[in-house]
Assembly symmetry: D2
Homo-oligomer: 290 residues x 4
């Protein structure tokens, strides 16, 4: 997991929109970075929040910088991860509120963290992402890359959906359920956990397939190797079924649509402290050991 990189010269900052504290953070951070000779790129929304004129399009930032500071929560980091996918840009998650699984650095700790990074005293925590295609009658009609999960779920009025699950095009099981989650290890502590899935250490190369409220009580979460392909076919006529990517982007499905999911070729690179402690975060977030 550990790997050092070259000194940074350009940094992007992408903040969660409509958060007033962002301006205050940037008022301190921007001059501090300038003093250290770092060129900073803000996306349009973040620049507007901070009352600054100069901005670039959000999607261009990953190609312009060596590292992106994400100011927000895990949700903001998930959306930045989708932008960065396929590039080497580092991501530093800074949490505006509580503790996040992905954004473990707090506002108070951001200067200390950056100083450590500039001293090259940090680790790169590589995380698997999933690439997903949706096929309709054999043609690709949508695609996305996710850091947490791809979810196929029933419409809000439907009673359940019927799905067929395949691995490497071999039939695994039929499923009548509220839905199905295909998750990375990173996503195992998100929606999959609420649906009864296991916690999977992020360094494992694996996917977690978790049924949501399965009608057959023996349909349990399954962990499969990260190098397989998972295919899910919608077998319900009812309208309203959707595929959602990281819980942020949704796509309406029709009967016989196929959702293909496999590991992305490139991993995302999160910047972490050398004393980052995965199980310490779990203990705090899940209130273990009360």
């Amino acid at each position: 997991m550990a790997q050092k990189i070259l000194k940074m010269q350009r940094i992007g900052i992408i903040a969660k929109p409509h958060r007033p504290e962002v301006k205050k953070v940037l008022d301190g951070l921007l001059p501090w970075l300038a003093e250290r000779g770092i060129e900073v790129f803000l996306d349009t929304d973040t620049a507007a929040t901070a009352g600054l004129p100069s901005a670039v399009q959000k999607s261009r930032i990953p190609s312009l910088v060596e590292m992106i500071i994400v100011l927000g929560g895990d949700g903001t980091l998930l959306s930045v991860a989708r932008l960065v996918e396929g590039k080497d840009t580092l991501i530093l998650g800074v949490n505006l509120g509580g503790l996040g699984f992905l954004t473990e650095i707090t506002l108070d700790g951001v200067y200390t963290a950056l100083e450590k990074i500039f001293r090259e005293d940090f680790i790169i925590d590589e995380r698997m992402m999933l690439k997903s295609n949706i096929l309709r009658q054999g043609e690709r009609i949508a695609q996305s890359t996710v850091l947490n999960d791809v979810v196929i779920s029933k419409g809000s009025l439907a009673r359940m959906i019927n799905l067929e699950v395949y691995i490497n095009y071999q039939f695994v099981t039929g499923l009548r359920a509220d839905g199905l989650i295909v998750s990375t290890p990173t996503g195992s502590t998100a929606y999959s956990l609420s649906a009864g899935g296991p916690i999977v250490h992020p360094s494992l190369d694996a996917m977690i397939i978790t049924p949501v409220c399965p009608h057959t009580l023996t349909n349990r979460p399954i962990v499969v190797p990260g190098d397989v392909g998972v295919e899910v076919i919608l077998k319900s006529k009812d309208e309203g079924a959707v595929a959602t990517f990281d819980g942020q982007v949704g796509f309406s499905l029709r009967e016989e649509d196929v959702v293909e999911i496999k590991a992305s070729e490139q991993k995302i690179k999160l910047v972490g402290s050398p004393d980052r402690n995965y199980f310490g975060i779990l203990r705090e977030k899940l209130k273990w050991g009360g």
Copy 2:
């Protein structure tokens, strides 16, 4: 649970629509009932399926007859139960396909079952129903009665909903989840079971409150006495949240809408065989003891 009634003179038949086998069943059943001096009432859909001219409106049937034969599955029986609510009409569930929790009599067994009923050799299995009101800014905008469950759930694209749960207007818990199920004992083997709820014997006077994929892992299913009122307040701004009644009728919810649920004053009366065996049905349906 056992209680005898007077000899029957009028029987209604309500069938699941669009099922070709219904015509064949009626071709045998109608003359058989006529021979025994029973007057039969069919609803418009069922009459059309059977190619018969004479029919009455479905909602009128419960007031016209002493017993309704439901030809279908548990879903058809749920919809008939809502019609019958508040009346003394008996319901006999006949399953067109496999075994149902509520429609335990098979097509093969229908004549034997009716002969037993005419000999007054049967039991009445009374089942609790739930009455639900939806209040918006203090005014009732919807109501329904259910035999299985009232479900408050997120829209299909939303990540979760925030709810507040009260019992007798006392705060119980906040909940971030896919949704919440308030179920009768009858409904405990339906959706609530898929969501991790317990099996509750139908003779218990109780409600089961089961969270669906709760964000807080310690939010467990709760069984409360049948004489309390449950109030659920929607605390999410996101659109798409719905209340569904027996999984069949849906109603869109807005932030601060209140869903009130309490036991209906009258119970529904299912006709059962004297050797009806609740746990035998459980064993077969859940494949216990494999």
Copy 3:
């Protein structure tokens, strides 16, 4: 749940053994009770802890007093409940440490609680208990009464036990599992909850049957009416199977032994504050709503 009783004249005190703070509590409490004209009875262990000479046998206390103050945790209260079973003696649980489900009054609150009780400003919270007999070849070889649960479980080296579960002598299911818990609503937040059982409100007249690590994944917790009898027959030859009562008293079982469980005729009477809030205790103990 509410019911007033006569002014108290005799109070028993039973404390958790080997707890040094008990002496300090009694040093304050005994003179305070004496000033109010209350005669106090200590059991031998409690008297010894407090360095006091006068004591009676623990089992005699329930017949001598109107109320017993339990100083300890839920475990101490469970053992006192077994002594009191069948009598009208009230029980006031005072927790020496954290918050208990049954011992909700803290050391700090004990004087305020007692003043309220002497003003008759309190409620009586009646809780169902279970009576259990163990039969070997038709003869009763052991019996106990419990406030939480009767557990039949495998020996520590065995892989599982085979059980047969009956309700009112009708076969319910065979079970291959680590064990089986038959619990009162009070016990539903104890061991049964760890094994996946539901939370059942203590005012419900019901028993919860919860399998422990069942081999058949569809063997789910079942809630049955409080007026049935549950019979569990051990079908394993392996040695080491035991029945435990409230997790405190154990009894070795042999193949074909029958464990019978039904509701005790009399309920135990816990003294509670009028603003006692069951769901508030649940929230705090289970860390709901984090």
Copy 4:
């Protein structure tokens, strides 16, 4: 998973003791193997069952043969796997009764399977094993190797045990529970599944850590990489706590004993059919898709 080996010349047969059908199987199998020029080695028990004089010690068989035929169930295969550990001997599991996860070949299919193997038309399914040491005051007092799981559990009369779990000597969590299972992917469909653990594909290099009836409801199963070390320290004074290896060999634990678990350097080699289908076995064993 696929890998061909040299033609076989010596085969061992180890059967489940006290099974009368074993004699009949051997009566057919031994001459059939002799005809094909294979030298066969039986262990003492198996030879006695078959009424044959010539036998070797069971523990010597793995060094004498290229493949061992196991006649029994998954339990018999687990015990043979412990003998074979560290050697290259192949294992062919033949199930005397139903379908096993590990012994998928039925009695009827044994000749066909052997013919395929002699034609080199088979695959080798390598399975990870776990090595476990028990340390008392720093000294190793026991060790074992398992194909399924190492379980640390409470004594049958105790209410729970307190454990501390470490990974690579870093503290992960304290645990109050009935016990803790550390399982291979192979073992994920055994006891761990009953305790709520996920199904993990056997080709994954991972360990599954599953708490049994944890007191803290948020203590969920965790999947960790196969190259870590897991250390579990017993923190309870109560007697009766044990470590069990594959559910077959038990060892009494004392307070502060340390159970160390890590992957064995060598994998066990199961012989499988080229059309072996892991998910097909799951579907049949778990009755998926009913």
